[in-house]
Amino acid sequence: MLFIRRYLIPRLIQYVLVIFVGITAVFFIPRLLPTDPVARTIAELRSRGSYLDPASIDAMVADLTEMYGLEGSSFDQYIAFWQRLFRGDFGVSFFQFPTPVIQLIKAALPWTLGLLLVTTAIAWTAGILLGGVAGYFNRQGWSRALDVLAMVVRPMPYYVFAFILLLLFGYIFPLFPVAGGASIGRQPSFSWPYISDVLRHAFLPAMSLIILGVTAWFQTMKLVVQNLNAADFVQYARFGGIKERRIVSRYVIRNGMLPQITALALLIGQIFSGALITEIVFTYPGLGTLLYNAIMTGDYNLIMGITVFSIVAITTAILVIDLLYPLFDPRIRYN
């Protein structure tokens, strides 16, 4: 199979290699820092004024060293790191001691994925379709009106826009809850009251992401399509009397979406590191908030856990798009 040999295998090798190098970097970079996490933790405890006798300090150093995975030489640590990684063990978190990192990620991931995958998909699809149609009919009044609208909305800083939404629909007209992923105390279940509660909480953050997302996709797609209007095959189809609906869908949008597919893949990869500002403005319990807290508290294991996660996610997204891309653009096929 030519496809497997020429197309699939090189990409799989590349995929594994990129993940390997990325995770190796995640392992070594913190170790190059001049601070010793064990010494820092103990110093922190001491600065709080608690008295520690030397024997217990020694015991603590040993415990912490083990928890941080700092036993033995760098090479030993590296091997041990990979071994733990394959078991899905990222160690324990420090800011929520002693919860394992993997559990924290597992708790945060569904919120982030649910919110971001859905909003990205909606924003991308709507932006591509609107931009495609508006780009083809760019001389029409409604197309220009959309353009102006996008131009006004798009440059708004996200946090300002999100905050306006929150203020407007959470406070002045209290239609939607202002914080959280679900009402406090509600037990997760597959029942309508719980699902509708989650949807109500997700509505404002989702709207903020979708509205700004659509305008961004709209603008790029419209520009791409406006250029395509002058392309020979579009002009020829128009001259050949092909119906406009068909030209828009099969000629203009099919070709114009090619660069957008690549951009989408990169964006989907980034989803796995969370949408920090969204999650902070709307106090949404996702990966972004988790990562933010991890960084603020110097929680190495958690930072490493999330970083490894997003490395795998981004490379996987790129691999998947790489494999799917020939379906959209036959010129990329393995010949």
Binding site: F233, F239, G240, K243, Y251, D329
Partner: protein, 334 residues
Amino acid sequence: MDKIILTTRQLKAFYLLDIHGRQKVVKAVNEVELEILENEIYGIAGESGCGKSTLLKTLAAVVEPPLRQLEGKVIYHINGEEVDVSTLGDEEMRRLRWEFVSYVPQGSMNVLNPVVKLKDTYHDFISSHVKGKSQEETFRMAKAYIAELGLPAEIMGAYPHQLSGGMRQRVTIALATLLRPKIIIADEPTTALDVIVQRGVMQLLKDIQQKLQNTIILVTHDMGVHANVADRIGIMYAGKIVEEAPTEKIFSQPLHPYTQFLINSLPKFGDKTPRQSVPGSPPSLADLPTGCPFHPRCPQVLDICKEQMPAYIAAAADHKVACWLVEEENGQAA
């Protein structure tokens, strides 16, 4: 007398440009009179920038700003009825395309949708004109036609980038002639191809014309191609047809000095003397000289050439030319 299929009357199509507030008028098609017959190959020859492609655009009724058809008419003779193209609505015109008049573009490298297979492109074109055909029926129709033209049927499953330039041009010609149009407008159909492939492509066009007994309006600057395929030739200079005659007459007794230059610049077997080209360069269509536009380059220029544009003179029943010199000679002869 052969039937006329397309007429133009005093056709004027100018580009109206507005460059930083300064109006500029590019007179690309200037008072062109054509009568093109059924079942003939009419060649239009001329240098780059003489308005050939613009003339084709107006003939095909694709006049989009900044191009404007200011005066004159393009008339299609559809089933014996005269139809002024400019009076047709969008939908009527859309239906005439491909069924009555179709178009083979210059170098078909990019006229086929790159992301779909050829059979889908064929389907798009067919289904937009023929009602109630399923995808399968259009495929069968396209395949049968492709086979009829002697092209391999497998290419229907290929993408445009998988074909060679010559094959792509052939596929486009097949696409353009699929619905058996009465008029095929071909704009430099062989320009981007090497000579061997050119021959094949021209042969294909000729075969199709013979089968369909329709009209081809062929534009190219290559006089060799004209000599091989055209029945009649119109020589275009600065937006005007300056001479029109059957192909043999254009080559054997060209009357207009510009035509003479064109013919004399062609290489001949056994003749190794250097060829002479037309002195100077073509005038800007935005700033035409007064009188005959060729007079600044004409070696036999007369005083009147600088003041007045000559009218057409019939040197023979099928040979007309716009030149004061011919006027002069005829006057002397008379």
